[in-house]
């Protein structure tokens, strides 16, 4: 009940922010998030040996981006071009460098994270509470802006090295206590 209420709230928030974004006639919520995902990739170091070409972004449980990912398709991260794997494709976690877990996959989150295990996959979510539940970077809205939280324990588990600059910008660091 509580979780469904929370989901509803999140939905409302998303809608509101979507409306706000639409009002601003600037980039939409998922345009910003797509750009942030690209910047994250630039500020995070994958463990040696995992730097294969290209840099694969796996969309898990749905594609809320639509056209919003198009700009980053042309970008590269340290010389690696992006490759977007749509949610319809069967997910082989070894092939993913970044995994965006949509809200729709919320029910399966624990199973998904368990499946990823300690693989060097940057998990990104945009739902309230994902950070505490083990997603490494989770978007959340605040003051009509998009912020993110970083679960350092989860990142350590995945063997990812997150730039201090990025950490400095993260508003919340859930699971820090758990890690300690």
């Amino acid at each position: 009940m509580a979780s469904s209420l929370r989901a509803l709230l999140a939905l409302l928030t998303a809608l509101l922010s979507g409306i706000a974004a639409a009002d601003q006639t600037g980039p939409g919520e998922y345009d910003v998030k797509a750009a942030y995902i690209h910047h994250f990739a630039r500020l995070i170091q994958w463990p040696d040996g995992s730097s294969r070409e290209p840099l694969r972004l796996c969309l898990v449980g749905g594609d809320p981006f639509g056209q919003a990912l198009d700009p980053i398709r042309a970008e590269t991260v340290d010389g690696r071009p992006w490759q977007i794997l749509p949610p319809t494709e069967a997910i082989a976690w070894d092939r993913c460098d970044v995994a965006f877990i949509s809200r729709a996959a919320g029910a399966d989150l624990s199973r998904i994270l368990a499946a990823i295990g300690r693989r060097p996959v940057l998990t990104i979510g945009d739902s309230e509470g994902y950070g505490e539940r083990g997603v490494i970077i989770n978007f959340f809205p605040e003051n009509r802006k998009i912020h993110f939280e970083i679960n350092l324990a989860a990142s350590r588990r995945a063997g990812l090295n997150i730039s201090s600059q990025l950490l400095k910008l993260a508003r919340r660091l859930p699971g820090e206590g758990e890690a300690r």
Partner: protein
């Protein structure tokens, strides 16, 4: 004087001090300026470099804040500038140039709302400004702007400058003091020496000597000065000695010179006078020569021209400088007179014969334009600058010749006219006399003829009667009757002539065939047996216009005169010719002829050469000829014969036609 010199030496001291001061102060000042300038430039460079570094560091730290749109994080990064007090303000702009974060918050209003153009730093009056790009992994994500305060830097520079200039001033002052002390030592001996020199020059006392100052430059100077004084003293003595000698010499020489001068002056005066005279005579010669109307020419021994005056130029048309050195013969026309002149000239050249001097030649001379003119040339020889020369005076006598010719012609004309007039007057006089004679004669003749005609008629009738009554009388009677009849006839003719001579009938002019008329006339005149008659009448002679009876009378008179003029026999020739509208008839005899005196009186009334005759025949002839529009002339030579020539008008065609019609 004294003050001036000592002033000069003190001014020398001043100059030395100035020199020292300047030599030490100029590098000091230059060095100070260099130090301050260097500090200024270095300080600015340092500040700019520092600001660049801050901008780099802050930019690096703020890059991700811009990437993730986190102004708060950016502001915190900027806040690190707190530790640098000279930074007055800073701003970060995002990718789109929008103000993203500022430091400090209080300075927000004073910071630019959009980023100034990036590039190197800009110094303003009290601040240094810098804008830099913020890059993240090679990508420009925004800009950072820093403003730094320059005033502390200025204060520092001012302080440093103060210290540097104070040090320099103190150093300079110390140097001046030191120099004054040192230079006094150099200047004071010089001053003493100057004082001494002054004494010598103003007092003329060459016996004083300078004190010794050791072996430095001033000491050497004093020594040299002393030597100089000694030499001057010696020379003065010698000079005084020589001067006294010289005085005497000068006096002597002056006297000599004065004397020479006087002589020279006299000579000069003489020469000036001579020159003046020479100049005058030269001037006179030049004026005379230029003004002369005759060409004055001078020729040297070789016959070459050496002088040629203005008149010569005008006459010949050559300028003097053109003909210089030409031979005189170039201007003379070859001919007999020319040859004669040349011979004379050579003779004059060779002998200088005085007899030839002044002889005048008439020559033909040649002008430049080729025209020839008569000239008169007189020559004389003389010596000029010990050279033989001939002076020629040549005169163009063309004008004179022409005038002479003209006068001669005039005279001739006049004489001819006088002769003509005289002749005319004589003729008129004769005519008058003749007319007068005729008038008198007319009256006498009229009455005489009238009175004689009647008795003659009676005698004629009586002879006729006697012929009739004595048809068979003896020969003697017959002869005498014949004589009476003949004489009466001649008397009647004489009376008729007489009447004709005073009363010429006006002619009845008709076309006349001259040949026939002459034949007829000859028949009526009894030809003496010893006279032969020759006729030369052209057959085609045109008719003439005259009164036939009067013309017959004229011819008859002339023919009988001719017969009478040839008592010893002879030839009578009658000739006729045409001459320009006239028929000319000549009656020629080979008789006794007439003397010129008689010939002139021939046509005078009552003149006759005949034993018988009253001298009216030719008067009548002349009158008749004139009445018929003709004239008569006579030509005679005593013993040869006489020719009377008649001019009668030819019948013009118009008149002829009129008469034929």
């Amino acid at each position: 004087m004294t003050e001036t010199r000592s002033e000069r030496s003190s001014s020398m001291l001043r100059k030395l001090i100035w020199a020292g001061l300047l030599t030490s102060a100029v590098p000091l000042i230059a060095f100070s300026v260099l130090l301050i300038g260097r500090g200024w430039i270095d300080g600015r460079e340092r500040m700019a470099h520092e600001l660049e570094t801050y901008a780099g560091v802050i930019g690096l730290n703020a890059a991700t804040a811009i990437l993730f749109d986190d102004p708060q994080a950016a502001a915190e990064t900027l806040a690190a500038l707190r530790t640098i007090p000279t930074v007055l303000g800073a701003a970060i702009y995002d990718r789109n140039g929008k103000l993203f974060a500022v430091y400090p918050d209080a300075a927000r209003a004073s910071l630019p709302a959009s980023p100034p153009p990036t590039g190197s730093h800009r110094f303003e009056r009290t601040s240094l400004n810098l804008t830099r790009e913020i890059a993240f992994k090679g990508e420009t994500v925004g800009r950072i702007y820093l403003r730094s305060d320059l005033r502390p830097f200025y204060r520092e520079i001012a302080k440093d400058s103060g210290v540097i200039f104070a040090t320099a001033s103190i150093t300079s002052a110390a140097a001046v003091l030191l120099m004054i002390r040192l230079q006094r030592r150099i200047v004071s001996p010089l001053k003493d020496l100057a004082q001494l020199m002054q004494t010598v020059s103003s007092g003329g006392d060459y016996s004083v000597r300078a004190a010794s100052y050791g072996r430095d430059e001033v000491g050497v100077l004093a020594e040299v000065f002393n030597e100089m004084l000694e030499k001057i003293q010696a020379r003065d003595l010698e000079l005084a000695h020589r001067r006294s000698n010289l005085q005497a010499q000068v006096t002597r020489r002056t006297d000599q010179l004065r004397h020479a001068n006087r002589l020279l002056e006299r000579e000069l005066e003489e020469r000036r006078r001579t020159e003046l005279a020479l100049h005058d005579s030269e001037e006179m010669f030049r004026v005379m020569s230029a003004a002369a109307l005759d060409a004055i020419i001078m020729v040297d021994r070789e016959g070459q021209l050496r002088y040629w005056n203005a008149a010569a130029e005008a006459i010949f048309g050559y300028r003097a400088e053109e003909v210089w050195g030409w031979s005189l013969r170039e201007f003379l026309v070859a001919g007999e007179s020319h040859e004669r002149f040349l011979l004379t000239f050579r003779h004059l050249q060779a002998t200088g014969d005085q007899a030839l001097q002044g002889q005048i030649f008439e020559l033909e001379a040649l002008r430049r334009d080729g025209s020839i003119f008569p000239a008169e040339l007189s020559l004389s020889a003389t010596t000029l600058k010990e050279q033989w020369v001939a002076i020629g005076i040549l005169r163009d006598i063309g004008e004179r010749k022409r005038a002479e010719d003209y006068i001669r012609r005039l005279n001739e004309q006049l004489e001819r006219k006088v002769r003509e007039r005289t002749q005319q007057l004589l003729n008129a006089q004769e005519e008058l006399v003749r007319k007068e004679k005729l008038a008198v004669l007319g009256q006498i003749a009229g009455s005489v003829a009238h009175e004689l005609r009647n008795p003659l008629a009676v005698i004629s009738n009586a002879v006729y009667f006697l012929h009739a009554v004595l048809p068979e009388s003896n020969a003697t009677v017959q002869e005498y009757l014949g004589i009476i009849d003949g004489e009466v006839g001649s008397a009647d003719r004489i009376v008729g002539d007489l009447l004709d001579s005073v009363r010429t009938r006006s002619p009845d002019r008709l076309p006349v065939d001259l040949g026939q008329l002459i034949q007829k006339t000859l028949e009526t005149c009894q030809r003496p047996s010893r006279v032969e008659v020759g006729l030369a009448i052209p057959a085609d002679l045109p008719p003439l216009l005259a009164d036939p009876l009067q013309l017959q009378q004229v011819l008859r008179n002339l023919i009988s005169n001719a017969y009478e003029a040839m008592p010893e026999g002879g030839i009578l020739r009658l000739e006729a010719n045409q001459d320009d509208g006239w028929i000319v008839v000549a009656v020629r005899d080979t008789g006794v002829g007439l003397s010129p005196v008689h010939r002139d009186q021939l046509f005078q009334p009552l003149f006759t050469t005949k034993a018988r005759g009253i001298g009216l025949g030719l008067v009548v002839v002349k009158n008749l000829m004139e009445a018929n529009g003709g004239r008569i002339e006579v030509d005679s030579q005593p013993g040869k014969g006489t020719t009377f020539t008649l001019w009668l008008p030819q019948l013009s065609e118009a008149v002829a036609e009129e008469h034929i019609a």
